[in-house]
């Protein structure tokens, strides 16, 4: 079959060396994963930098890289909101407001925090939904990655799936979370060094950012692709079909805060920090780098609009016409500028992105399964060694289930259409439950559980309603012109509101926990060590303000 890129022996050597390194790190660390704290929480000894870079890297999957480059080609600079307002405020909020409660409570997971705050039913509900969502997402990512490798490199799908997943299974099963985190830091560097050349050379070719904008306007006849905010006054004024309220309230508030503050995949990295200050600084360091990610993701998509001599289309049209789809924009730009060696580095960056995302999924799944499902519901009194062994087996099992999911998706590709919806079913209401649990003493165990359940069911019901009657989108998203992405944003917002309303109502009808039982879990009942004695540059709040200022300036520049 034809494919975009032909790899030279030098490129293959670069990829092979990468695999050898990640496996060696797992092997080297295997002796440091003998206790539960070692295996599941990396001994709680990570510095702020290690935890922060790993926190970001676990989110930087290859699909994230290629998917958002594709979105930038399709929707223009609006895609940058998923990196800025859709991430930065939430990451700073996690560091400054929520991390003290996660860290001081000494929980090993987000469902574990819910158990401490609201009891077993809330933990069971969130643990089961998280485990289900994690292996499903992992399998879908695996399939999508293998598909890209087939289209771009001509690699067999089975080869890509098995080689990359077995490698992840080996290094995580050997070294636990410590191995996953160390490899994620390594992968973070590879992603940046592998991907940075594309925008750098692209800007040279386009004549700088001014030249890039001029070319896009000339090619598309509109400047709506190069403004982040000024086109959001109406649903029809921008390529994404979304209103600024959807971006600010749906994405910037509910979806973003839900993902960055309650998705255990990312929170687990910060829980491994060596002390509270490191745990608070880690998401702030992550936020500083997250703001820069559009340079290697969004900019290549925009450069594709400016310099590629042909037009990219949707997947179906690309298959029908033999052309290229939006999803191929990043590999196309890589092939445009990179010769042997640099090409291998770029492909290694994509593989590293995939593996860091998968390792994040697998290590989080192993922890939630072992502590929040197996120990909580099946075997409460086993030894620490037994749970570590379960964690290792679970890592392998999680990878195998993900592989099974990947093959399932291969047979029933419509599953892909439901992924974003699935994500919004669970994440948005979970944020409502956790934030009320942390900040409101009066929230009761019954309120927490029923709020979480009704928010989740409400979200599923809204999704089913629009599926059955597409015109219902005018009630969910306030406009019949709203598109899928806008629907997800507004559905997330509604499900969060339902969760909060039910939690408040049920809490006022039921008996709250006595305050001594809330120590270390809730604002007002927890002693949080002050930072008054620390020099200004050691204080998380100082760096949060600095990152906030850069965030504001960037939004104004690209308004």
């Amino acid at each position: 079959m034809t494919h975009l890129i032909a790899l030279s022996p030098l490129d293959l050597a670069i990829i092979a060396i990468y695999f050898a390194f990640v496996l060696y790190i797992g092997y080297y660390l295997k002796g440091r994963a003998s206790t539960g704290d070692d295996f599941f929480l990396a001994g709680r000894e990570m510095t702020a930098w290690i935890a922060g870079l790993s926190f970001l890297s676990a989110n930087l999957g290859s699909l994230e890289l290629m998917g958002w480059a594709a979105a930038a080609y399709q929707y223009g600079i609006l895609s940058v909101h998923w990196y800025w307002i859709g991430a930065i405020p939430a990451m700073l909020f996690l560091g400054i407001v929520m991390m003290p409660f996660y860290y001081i409570s000494k929980t090993h997971s987000v469902p574990g925090y819910l158990q401490l705050r609201f009891g077993e039913p809330s933990r069971a509900l969130s643990a089961v939904t998280f485990a289900f969502m994690t292996v499903l997402m992992s399998g879908i990512n695996m399939y999508s990655m293998a598909l890209v490798m087939k289209v771009v490199l001509g690699w067999d799908i089975n080869f890509s799936i098995w080689v990359s997943s077995i490698t992840v299974a080996i290094y995580v099963a050997l070294g636990g979370l410590r191995s996953a985190i160390f490899n994620e830091v390594l992968q973070f560097f590879l992603i940046w060094f592998g991907a940075m050349l594309i925008p750098s050379l692209g800007l040279v070719e386009a004549g700088g950012f001014t030249g890039l904008k001029a070319r896009i306007i000339a090619n598309l006849g509109s400047d709506s692709y190069i403004h982040a905010w000024s086109t959001l006054g109406s649903f029809t004024g921008n390529p994404m079909g979304i209103h600024w309220t959807g971006i600010v309230l749906g994405l910037g508030w509910v979806i973003s805060f839900g993902y960055w503050t309650t998705d255990f995949l990312v929170v687990q990295r910060v829980l491994a920090a060596k002390d509270l200050r490191s745990a608070q600084l880690a998401p702030i360091i992550g936020a500083a780098f997250k703001m820069m990610v559009p340079f290697i993701v969004i900019l290549p998509g925009l450069l594709g609009l400016a310099v590629l001599p042909f037009k990219l289309t949707g997947e179906a049209e690309a298959i029908a016409t033999g052309g290229h789809s939006y999803n191929e924009v990043l590999p196309l730009m890589l092939a445009r500028y990179c010769g042997p060696g640099l090409m291998g580095l770029g492909i290694t960056a994509l593989i590293a992105g995939f593996m860091s995302g998968m390792a994040g999924n697998v290590s989080a799944f192993a922890t939630v399964w072992t502590y929040d499902i197996y120990r909580a519901l099946m075997r409460k009194d086993a030894t620490d060694g037994h749970y570590v062994a379960m964690g290792r087996w679970c890592t392998i099992l999680g990878v195998l289930v993900s592989i099974g999911t990947a093959y399932l998706v291969m047979q029933f590709q419509s599953i892909m259409d439901y992924v974003q919806a699935l994500f919004s079913f669970f994440i948005a209401p979970l944020f409502g439950t956790v934030i009320l649990g942390m900040l409101w003493k009066r929230a009761t165990p019954a309120g927490g559980f029923w709020g979480l359940l009704s928010g989740t069911l409400g979200s599923i019901a809204m999704w089913a309603w629009v599926k059955a009657d597409p015109s219902a989108i005018r009630y969910i998203a306030f406009s019949e012109h709203a598109r899928d992405m806008a629907e997800n944003m507004y559905r997330g917002l509604w499900s969060w509101i339902i969760c909060v309303a039910v939690t408040v109502a049920v809490s006022y009808c039921t008996r709250p926990k006595p305050e001594p039982e809330l120590a270390g879990l809730v604002y007002g009942c927890t002693h949080i060590p002050g930072e008054e004695q620390a020099p200004l540059h050691h204080r998380p709040a100082f760096w949060a303000v600095a990152v906030s200022l850069v965030f504001i300036v960037l939004n104004l520049i690209f308004w």
Binding site: I14, I17, G31, R32, L186, L197, E205, Y337
Partner: protein, 72 residues
């Protein structure tokens, strides 16, 4: 951050970047002498040479700063 018996994760990163830098710089210099049949866009900028040099410099810097023997 150590990996248990003295080797820092930063050393691993430095070592990998050093190897990559040497390979990419080496090929970049080779392609000066033997230009590729189908050069990429902006080949005249010789990205392989300067990017390989950057990787090599960063890699050597990290490796030296975090040599295992220095962190006993």
């Amino acid at each position: 951050m150590h990996t248990g018996s003295g080797i820092s994760i930063w050393f691993f990163i430095g070592a990998l970047l050093t190897i990559y830098g040497a390979l990419i710089l080496g090929y970049g210099l080779y392609s000066l002498a033997v230009p590729p049949a189908q050069p990429p866009v902006l080949h005249e900028l010789h990205a392989g040479i300067w990017w390989g040099a950057v990787l090599l410099a960063v890699g050597l810097g990290y490796s030296y700063a975090h040599l295992p023997r220095k962190r006993s």
